[in-house]
Structures are given as C-alpha cells and as structure tokens.
C-alpha cells in the first residue's frame, strides 16, 4: 500500500509514454498526483504521533518526518500537475511533446517521492542523482539557447556534486565497517556514529556537505540554481524550487546527527556559517536581478540557508523550526512560481523592467504575484512568517544573538528586495498596450489550491500537524 505512492507516479509516466493513450496524459498525471496526495496524507495521519512503519526491513522504512516530506512532495506534485495542464496548453505545445513532458514529469516526481521512503544510504544517493538526471530535460524543455545553457549548468554542477557525494557515501560506509556494523541505514549510522574513526568521519562530512550542498544551492555552489529555476517551465520550477531542494536538504539534515556527535567536526558551526553566507548572498543578489523568476530562485537559496542555519543550532527548538520552515517554504514557493507562470502567460516576458502596471493588464496575475511575494518574503499572516519567527525564537533561546541579528537583517533585505521588484511590476500605469491572454482555468485552480495551505498555516496550525512537526524534529534528534 505504501509502495503504491511512488509506483503510482511510475504508472502514470508509463501511461503518458504510450503513443495513443497519451492524449489524456495531463488528466492521468493529475489523477495520479491526487491519489498520491491522499495516500500520503493518510500516512502522515497514522505516523504523526511518532513511530516507524517498516515496509521492507533495512530498505524502506517510514517515520513522521518522511511522511511529512511525502505529503509536501505530493502536494506540490498535485498542484504542479494541475498547473502544467493549462500552462502547456497555453503555449501551443505539440501533443507528443506534452506526452513526453508528462512522462518525464511523473518520473521526476517518482524519484523525489522515493527519497524519504528509503532507508539505505546508497539507494538514497542513487535517487538523489536520479532527481538531477530526470529533471535535466525538463529544465531544457523550451529548447531555447538560454534553457539549454541553464540545463547544462544544472547538469554539470549537480552531477559534480553527486559524484563528490558518492565518494562521501562510500567513505561513510567504510567508517561504518570499521566499527563492525553493516547496517547502512539512518538508524545503523546513528548507532555506530560514536565509534567511527574521526578522520573518516570528517572526510565523509566534507564530501557529503559539498556534494549535497551543490544540489541544495548553498552559496559558492549556487550558480546553477537561478539559471535552472528560471528557465524551466513554471510548474517544473515549482517542483525544483519547492521540493527538490527541500528533499536534498532533508537528506543533509538526517545525516547531520551522524556527524554532530563528534565535537571536533563543528557540524553546527559549518551549518550556521554556510547557511548565513547563503542567506546573505542570496538576499543581496536578489535585489540585483532583472528576471522575476530568478527573483524567486534566489529566494529559494535564501530559504535553504535559513533552514540550514536553524538546523545548525543543534537544539530541539531549532529542529522544529527548521522542519516547519521546510514545510512553509515548499508550500509557498510553489505558489510563487505559479504566480510567475501566470504572469508569464499574461505578459510573455520574464523581464522585470518590461512589465509595468500589471494590475491593469491582468488583475489575477498581479494579485497572485503580490500575494506570492508577500507570503515568501515572510509577511504576516502567512506560513513563512510564523516559521521564520520560530527560527528567530529558537536562535534567541540558544543565545545566538549575532546569528539572530544577521538572519533578521538578511530576511528584511530579502523582503524589501522582493517587494520592491514586485510592486514595480504591479503598480503604475501600463507602459504598452496590454496583450491580453486568458489565464487557463487549471492554472488558476492550481494557484488557488496552492494558496490554501499558505493561508491556513499562517493563522492556524492544526493539532495533528503540530504533533507531526514535533515528532519529525525528534527524528532529526538534536541533542
């Protein structure tokens, strides 16, 4: 039953690949995604109190954190599938390309759905690499020179990271072996971590942090991220920005405690420093950008940095806040890219300077964009506001005042950067004759559905979800 979650995505991909039957590809994808979503929510419901669900011992085991991740992925998968339907139709894409798109899209979703379910570190690495491989062709879907350049940079840097990470995985396995254990799972690693040789542990830590860090978009290795996340079709951007980076970050967070036990590695300090550099650089770059999709892409780098910083506190409160932020960011960022998508449909350009007075051109796109920018920037009463507040509070509880000050400063810079660009686009008189294009109905629906959790989580955290957050943070198990 649990295995049906990723398998449904594969089945949908197979369906889309069939030449004739592929006509219904968008509908099949949406249905599969909704089925996956309902299954995941049920799973989250059963696991929210804690405990582990073993499907295949040593290979597939789930806990509340995994279930939370699955639900997030499924949520974005579902809304992105819905959005794709109208988005591709608005572009007059040929039917065979639509089929291929959906086949690839489902496979991409499959690779991400598998990661939280897997327990074996080697397999996790394989699926991390698969998320890169299966999304390269989605990034280059437009086959324009820019899209190809973005896809190439994306390919080179993420696979480079994956290759460095594989050596890290192998070294970790070596370190595990040195302790006499062969259980290469999250739990097995945690249990053996204290007895592993220090040199190997340190080497594995550096390799894994660099390798997976490249895929999360941590700052010296972030250069591909704004390119790929701006050139891909908008629903793919939502998947890339909203969940792909989050899923890899989940892998890093779960690995954290293997290393955190060794005080000479300064894991917390690494996380905080890398996180703050990412937040700061992204917040400043964000003000310089001229493309509103890049704007949101930089915001992703910023949020990854925020989550990493929170996890670097190594306190339970920090962990809860980090998981919360992961949740809030995924839900909100997908919304932002849908808003960017409808803006692109309405105006036909990604250039911020070319869009003035969007309110007059397309009231819906303007509202969506403004809403997305406010929500992701951290304005109350939206989900990100509460989770960022939780992170700052966790920082204060840990007496990391400088950290909190820096983080708050960068968040404010990013907020004003976002708002400045977006208000420039939305307000004012339209510069040119508006080229009115109808926003496809499915796009609008996807946007509204994606907005629901953002609004709801901003004012009310359901009891079950709060419980799931707590137990998920316990899985990460700080101190």
């Amino acid at each position: 039953m649990i295995l049906a979650i990723p398998l449904l995505a594969v089945l949908a991909a197979l369906w889309c690949a069939i030449p004739r039957a592929g006509r219904a590809a968008p509908a099949v994808t949406v249905l599969a995604a909704i089925a996956v979503l309902s299954l995941s929510i049920r799973l989250l419901w059963t696991l929210s109190g804690g405990g582990t669900l073993t499907v295949i011992r040593g290979w597939v085991e789930l806990n509340s954190l995994a279930a939370l991740l699955l639900t997030l992925i499924a949520l974005v998968y579902a809304t992105a599938a819905l959005f794709s339907w109208g988005y591709l139709a608005s572009d007059a894409t040929s039917e065979s390309r639509i089929r291929l798109y959906h086949a690839n899209f489902n496979l991409f979703a499959f690779s991400m759905l598998s990661i939280p379910m897997l327990n074996e570190i080697g397999l996790v690495w394989i699926f991390v690499e698969l998320t890169s491989l299966l999304s390269i062709l989605l990034v280059s879907f437009a086959i324009s020179a820019d899209a190809l350049e973005a896809a190439w940079k994306y390919m080179v840097l993420t696979l480079l990271g994956a290759t460095i990470a594989v050596l890290g995985v192998l070294v970790l396995y070596w370190a595990l072996h040195a302790t006499g254990s062969t259980e290469f799972t999250w739990d097995g690693l945690h249990a053996a971590a204290a007895r592993m040789p220090h040199a190997l542990l340190g080497f594995a830590f550096v390799l894994l942090l660099v390798g997976y860090g490249a895929k999360i978009g941590l700052v010296p290795l972030h250069t591909w991220l704004p390119d790929a996340h701006s050139q891909a079709p908008s629903p793919v951007c939502a998947m890339l920005s909203g969940i792909e980076t989050s899923v890899i970050l989940y892998v890093v967070l779960r690995l954290r405690n293997v290393f955190a036990g060794d005080p000479s590695l300064h894991v917390g300090a690494w996380f905080v420093v890398l996180g703050l550099i990412s937040v700061g650089a992204a917040a400043l770059l964000l003000t310089q950008t001229q493309d509103y999709k890049r704007l949101f892409a930089f915001s992703t780098v910023e949020h990854m940095g925020i989550i990493l910083t929170a996890a670097g506190l190594l306190t339970p409160a920090g962990d809860v806040a980090a998981v919360w932020q992961l949740l809030a960011h995924s839900a909100t960022k997908s919304l932002c890219f849908y808003a960017a998508g409808v803006t692109l449909i309405a105006t036909g350009t990604r250039d911020i300077a070319a869009i003035r007075g969007l309110l007059g051109t397309s009231r819906f796109a303007a509202a969506a964009l403004l809403f997305g920018a406010l929500a992701i920037g951290g304005a109350p009463p939206f989900a990100v506001f509460l989770s960022e507040l939780a992170i700052l509070r966790a920082g204060l509880l840990a007496h990391a005042y400088v950290l909190v000050a820096l983080l708050a400063f960068f968040i404010v810079v990013a907020f004003f950067g976002l708002l400045w660009h977006v208000t420039n686009m939305v307000a004012g008189p339209p510069e040119s004759e508006p080229r009115r294009r109808r926003i496809p109905l499915t796009c609008a629906w996807a946007l509204l559905l994606a907005a629901l959790p953002v609004v709801i989580l901003g004012v009310w955290l359901p009891q079950g979800l709060a419980q799931a957050l707590e137990s998920a943070a316990r899985v990460l198990g700080a101190a």
Binding site: G122, I126, W152, T182
Partner: protein
Amino acid sequence: MSLLSELNALALGLFIISTIAMTVTRQIGACIQIFVVQSLLLAASAFLLGASTPSWHLIALGCVTVIGKAISIPWLLRALVPSEIHRTRELSQTIDAPTALLAALGLTLLGYAFGAHIVGAAPNLSSGNVSMGIAALLVGLLLLAVRIEAVPQLLGILAMENGAFLAGIAIAPDFPLIAELAIAFDVLLLGFIVALLTRAAYRRIGTTEVGGLSALRERIK
C-alpha cells in the same frame, strides 16, 4: 608485494595517467577512447582486487563497469551525438596544455598526500586505490574547468565518478550489489540524457561549447 597487487598498482598508475591525458587531449574521438581505457583500468583494478580478496562483488562490479562505461557510453555518444562533433579537432581550452598538465600533476600529488593521510585511519586495504581515486576526482574537476566542450565535460564527470569508484572498490568492497546495479543504470541514463542535451544544443545553438555560455547572469545596473 604479490604480483596481483603490483599489477593493481600498475593499473592505478595508468588510470591516473589516462585521467590526466583526458584533460589535455585535443580531439573528441581520442578523448572518448581514453575514457574507455580509463574505465577498463577501473574494471581491471576491480578484477585484481576481487581476485586477491576474493570477492564476487568486485568481479561483478568490474563486469558492470566494462559493459556500462567502456561499451555503452561510447556507443551512446556515437549513436546520439552528431558525427560532426566527433570529428572536431583542436578543442578550445581555458588554459593551455602544459599549465593544465602541471596543475593536474599538483592535484595528483595532493590526492596522494590526502589519501595517504586518510588511509592511516583504517589500514589493511589497497591504499593506492584511495589515493588515486581522490586524485582522479580532483583531476576530473580540473578537466571540467579546463574544457568547455559538451562531450569532454560529460567525460569529465564520468571520469570523476570512475575516480570515486576506484576508491570505492577498495574501501567498500561489499557495497550492496543492488546499489552497484542501480549506479550502473544511473550512468547509462546520464550518458543518454547528456547526449540528447548535446544534440539539442548543437542543433539549436550551432556549437557544443556549452561550458562557455554565459548569457544568464546578474547584471549590475
């Protein structure tokens, strides 16, 4: 020193030489051939270690490497990448060959030193594999920085991966076989997707010097 470990050390030496050779070869065809040689040397090292341990895992990994990297990748590249690209000579490089050679040598020594340092933590294994694996990983990074042509960049990533596995067969000889198979599958998928991307780039942009593209960036106003 038994004969098997001497031969393994020879395979390691030739492995790093072939990795360095890929960094400076000027023809795509030759570059692919050197990559095949490098993969075969990885397989040879796996066979030799597998025979001396003895370990079926390593022998299987060697076979997977031969099939996946030495046969399938060149075949995929020949089938999917336009033949004009294969005939390209005089590839452009960001730094000239002698400098690249010296840098590669420096990285090799760095990899050696680092590997020796790491192996000290857990002896009783083919320490050469770890050192040369790390060295090949570093030289592969250099390759990615030196080359801007699509196919050599792909080969650079694969060469790095070969380096990682060269270290891997020594440090994790009983890594679960299912993972090995999946990794081999990943490599094939990688070759397929990148070959498609290269072809698309060649048709659309007219060049495969994709590493040199820089239209996407922030411009300071």
